[in-house]
Symmetry: C2
Subunit: 166 residues, 2 copies
C-alpha cells in the first residue's frame, strides 16, 4: 500500500528571458516557507521512504529541504515529474515501486502545477477538471489502491498548504 504525497515546489524566481525555466531557483521566502512546512511534517511524524523530484531546480531545491529536515534520504530526479512530464510514465514508476514494496510505504513526488493537481484528479476521478487548488509548498496525500487493477480505489486523505500547517 502506497501513501502518495504530491508536493508542489516553493515560491521561485519569476520567469524571465535571462534564465531558463528549468533553472529558476527558490527565492528566500520560498525556501523559508518550504522549510516551515517540512519541519511541521517532521514534527507530525511523517517520513518518506523515497523522495522523487522533478529535475527542475525549484523542485530539486524543495526536495532538498525535505531531505535536510529529516523527512527522507537524498532526493532522486524523476523526469516525468518535470512540467512536460507524462502521467503515464509517472504511473509506470509507481506501479514498479508497488510491485517491489509489499508493505505500506510513503512516497513523495515533488513537482509542479498544474501537473500535480491533474495527476491527483486522474488518480481519484479518472479525469481532469482543475478542481484542486494546490498552493506553492502545498501538499496532496492519496492512498493508492492496487495500480495494476483497471478499477483502482484511490482515496484523498490530505490537501493542504502552508497556511494550514503553521
Amino acid at each position: 500500500m502506497i501513501n502518495l504525497y504530491l508536493f508542489r515546489h516553493g515560491i521561485a524566481a519569476e520567469r524571465s528571458d535571462k534564465i531558463h525555466d528549468a533553472e529558476r531557483p527558490l527565492i528566500p521566502k520560498g525556501q523559508r516557507r518550504t522549510r516551515l512546512v517540512a519541519r511541521r511534517l517532521q514534527q507530525i511524524g511523517l517520513r518518506f521512504d523515497v523522495i522523487m523530484t522533478s529535475p527542475f531546480l525549484r523542485a530539486q531545491q524543495t526536495a532538498d529541504i525535505l531531505h535536510e529536515e529529516g523527512l527522507g534520504d537524498l532526493p532522486i530526479p524523476l523526469p516525468p515529474l518535470a512540467p512536460t512530464g507524462e502521467f503515464a510514465r509517472g504511473m509506470a514508476w509507481l506501479q514498479d515501486w508497488q510491485q517491489n514494496h509489499t508493505t505500506e510505504s510513503n512516497v513523495v513526488f515533488v513537482g509542479h502545477q498544474p501537473n500535480l493537481g491533474h495527476w491527483a484528479e486522474q488518480l481519484l476521478w479518472g479525469k481532469v477538471g482543475d478542481r484542486l487548488i494546490v498552493k506553492k509548498a502545498g501538499i496532496i496525500g492519496i492512498k493508492l489502491g492496487n495500480l495494476s487493477h483497471s478499477e483502482t480505489n484511490n482515496e484523498l486523505f490530505l490537501l493542504t498548504s502552508p497556511k494550514w500547517l503553521p
Copy 2:
C-alpha cells in the same frame, strides 16, 4: 463568494440500543480533539460568518466547541445536515445565503459522514465516488462559484484531519 467548510463531528459514544442515534454525545477524547482543532483554526485566523449544524447531538456539541473557541456565533441547526439530509436542500440554503451575501464569506456545515464527503464530491465532480477520507473532527474547504449557474466552478482548497493540525 463563499468558502464552504464541511466539518465532521468529533468522536462520539458508540451506537447502542440504549440511546437514540440522534442523542449520542461526544466522548471526552472527541471533545478534546475537536477543541484542539478549533484552537488551531482560531490561531490560523479562520472566522466563520455562520456556523450551521446537524441537529444531532454529536454535531451540535462539535459546533458548540467551534463557537466556544471564538470561531463564530452560536450554531444554528440545519435539518438537511442530519445523516438523512438531502444534498438539494443543503444547496438551496447555500444559494439563498449566496444571494444575500455579495462579499466573501466563510460558512461552516457541521455534520456527518458519508454525507459531507458525498456533498463535496457532488460540488466538485458532480458525482459521488467515495474518494474522500474525512476523519472525525476533520475538515474540507471548498471555494464555491456561482451556485445558480448550471456549470459551477467549485474548487477544493483543503482536506485535513486532526493529525495534520497539531
